[in-house]
């Protein structure tokens, strides 16, 4: 029978199916971090059991850590304790840890792909919703809760119902100044922040194929933002080149041509413009030169201080954040640096430019990006989740407006009362140098 790629990988990892359809799913690789793992380890201890397959688990510290002066102890006591607890748990159970200062440390969803740990055909989980990122390499990867982290630590399996399958085709060529981030913000604006709930999405089509691996990672990263459990892209030469190798069975990882999906959408790349969100969920996005919908949610408008039917162009910006598991890769920093090259950061803007990993940080230095950034009035910080979720010191103050290349614009996401507008790199760069929401196509050679 014809199968989708999602079915092929899921079925190959299903050890047994329970009454009602839940599957005991074998997990090839688990990533853990300091926030969602301590209670899981404590659970193992209270049960008197150990970690089943420590060699299939990789740990990093990313959510809580500061993005400057990482050589110093973490100032905030609870954050420090969480990171210390992770270190102790990894040592006790023989799990490889890329802790603060380690040359391979970084945001969990940046380091997995960049170090070749994430591979086509795998099942991957992490106690973090943006685990969907790893699907860009042709893996079934999704976020789980701490109970499931504990399950996988204890048994290398979890129990989940099989998701429905959705295919989102994006065909055609992207127009000037449009990035992978704009593609996913556009898709979510079309199908809503809950349009993918219950589904696993395969992204396909000529536009998706034309994206670099970094772009594909950005695309899959935000699959969760339409509610989908994950996103996946069939591996191809781009994938194999990124990994620097290919295994023969990876070439069999594709949806059969006559496979049926439970739901399909098709979009034309030419319809996608540089995007920005105006509201408080990632589905509330518009083209940069568009207008906020007339029927916009009043609660979101009130929180953000916008009016229905108005444009956001020209709105003064207080903060710009470039980084996160969505847009913290070297290609993102390269694009940002190329756009601000020879310009100056606007006086009214505080900018945080945060590499996603130590490797990205090193590359940014070696490729001369840090020098370009410094000349334009920006500083390169140290790797971590930073202002994406305000667990560390990088918080946007109440009432301030931040153009952010991260993934969530929820109320208070970047700090209590902070207002977030999500965008790609070019829109963020335009805001950073003009101090207001600006159409990047009007000021940059894109």
């Amino acid at each position: 029978m014809a199968k989708t790629l999602i079915d092929k990988i899921w079925d190959a990892h299903t050890i047994r199916t329970e009454e009602g359809g839940r599957c005991v799913l074998y997990i090839d690789r688990q990533y853990i971090h300091e926030v969602t793992s301590p209670v899981a380890f404590a659970g193992l201890v209270s049960r008197g059991i150990g970690v089943a397959r420590p060699a299939q688990i990789t740990a990093t510290a990313d959510h809580n850590i500061p993005t400057e002066n990482q050589h110093l102890p973490i100032a905030e006591e609870q954050s420090r304790k969480q990171v210390e607890t992770l270190t102790e748990n990894c040592a006790a159970h023989g799990i490889e840890l890329f802790g603060v200062g380690h040359p391979q440390q970084g945001i969990v969803h940046i380091i997995g792909p960049e170090q070749g740990l994430t591979q086509p055909g795998m099942t991957i989980i992490c106690g973090d919703s943006h685990t969907s990122t790893h699907g860009a390499l042709g893996a079934i990867a999704f976020g789980v809760g701490t109970s499931e982290v504990e399950m996988a630590l204890a048994s290398q399996c979890i129990i989940q119902s099989k998701p429905l399958t959705m295919r989102i085709l994006v065909n055609g060529e992207l127009t000037r100044g449009v990035e992978a981030k704009d593609v996913i913000l556009y898709i979510i604006s079309q199908i809503s922040a809950s349009g993918g709930t219950g589904y696993f999405i395969e992204f396909a089509g000529t536009c998706v194929r034309s994206l670099s691996m970094e772009g594909r990672l950005t695309l899959c990263n935000m699959a969760i933002e339409c509610g989908a459990r994950g996103g996946i892209i069939a591996p191809d030469e781009v994938t194999f080149k990124y990994l620097g190798r290919v295994e023969p069975q990876w070439r069999d990882l594709y949806s059969d041509s006559d496979a049926a999906f439970d739901k399909e959408y098709s979009f034309d790349a030419a319809d996608i413009l540089p995007m920005i969100t105006w509201g408080t969920n990632p589905g509330e996005g518009i083209a940069i030169d568009g207008k906020i919908p007339a029927d916009a949610d009043p609660k979101a408008l009130s929180y953000m201080g916008f009016e229905a039917g108005h444009q956001v162009i020209g709105t003064p910006v207080d903060y710009v954040f470039v980084g996160s598991c969505t847009n913290g890769r070297i290609e993102d920093l390269r694009l940002f640096a190329s756009l601000v090259h020879g310009r100056r950061k606007a006086e009214n803007v505080v900018a945080w430019i945060v590499p996603g990993s130590k490797k990205v940080e090193r590359q940014a230095r070696e490729q001369g990006l840090e020098r370009i950034l410094n000349e334009a009035g920006f500083e390169l910080r140290q790797p971590g989740c930073s202002a994406c979720l305000a667990m560390n010191a990088d918080k946007v103050p109440a009432g301030k407006l931040c153009v952010s290349t991260s993934n969530r614009n929820f109320e208070g996401r970047q700090g209590p009362g902070a207002r977030t507008m999500l965008s790609g790199i070019a829109v963020a760069a335009a805001a950073a140098v003009t101090g207001k929401i600006t159409d990047p196509r009007k000021i940059f050679q894109l």
């Binding site: 839940r22 976020g143 109970s147 809950s194 709930t197 509610g227 969530r408 208070g412």
Partner: protein
């Protein structure tokens, strides 16, 4: 082990807001504990308290003395966003046993079930009826029967069937958790590995 769930009769707290994400249920800055207990204090923290974080916001339903009970009734797409299980822990720690909505985000639904908190999905119309009944009578009671998979508005007798998968229903009814079960499958898992390693 998770807390057993069979039936519950309780009044309910209405929260008629759609797309409530887990950052609202428990903001990230409160995720720094290394233990499971105590998250209820910060449930809906930034909605429960005024901007300075100290005074309760009188407009928020949890602060309204008219509303109490172990059932939270919320708008569609409840629990979207971050996978933090702390959201389920916070709701359970506060005292909720059931969350009723017309649509749940996937990860939250799983997290709730893994903690003995029942995510109970009803149709849009029935959800509207619950909201309107509570608006008319804040002391209106709901009865949830897991065995029969029904939810009933006791004051008017309106009832609706809800879905739950058979495995998770068995876990909730008996207080079983998945870790013990998966550990018991160790030989089968080992066998899978032997057959599937290159």
């Amino acid at each position: 082990m998770i807390p057993k769930f069979t039936t519950l009769t309780s009044c309910a707290v209405p929260l008629p807001v759609e797309n409530i994400d887990t950052d609202q249920i428990i903001p990230a800055r409160f995720l720094k504990a290394t233990e499971r207990a105590g998250f209820g204090d910060n449930l809906f923290r930034d909605w429960r308290y005024a901007a300075d974080g100290t005074l309760p916001n009188p407009d928020f339903p949890l602060n309204n003395p008219c509303y109490k009970g172990q059932i939270l009734v919320a708008g569609r797409n409840f629990g979207c966003g971050s996978s933090r299980e702390h959201a389920a822990w916070a709701l359970a720690d506060y005292g909720f046993r059931v969350v009723v909505s017309s649509f749940f985000a996937d990860i939250f639904r799983g997290n709730a079930l893994n903690n003995g908190l029942l995510p109970l999905q009803v149709g849009n119309e029935f959800l509207a009826k619950i909201f309107s009944e509570i608006a008319d009578n804040p002391a209106a009671e709901l009865e949830v029967n897991l065995e029969n998979q029904t939810i009933t508005i006791l004051s008017n007798g309106l009832s609706e069937h809800f879905e739950i998968d058979a495995y998770k229903k068995k876990c909730l009814l008996n207080g079983l958790d998945d870790v013990d079960y998966l550990v018991s499958l160790a030989p089968e898992i080992k066998n899978y590995e032997l057959c599937n390693t290159k």
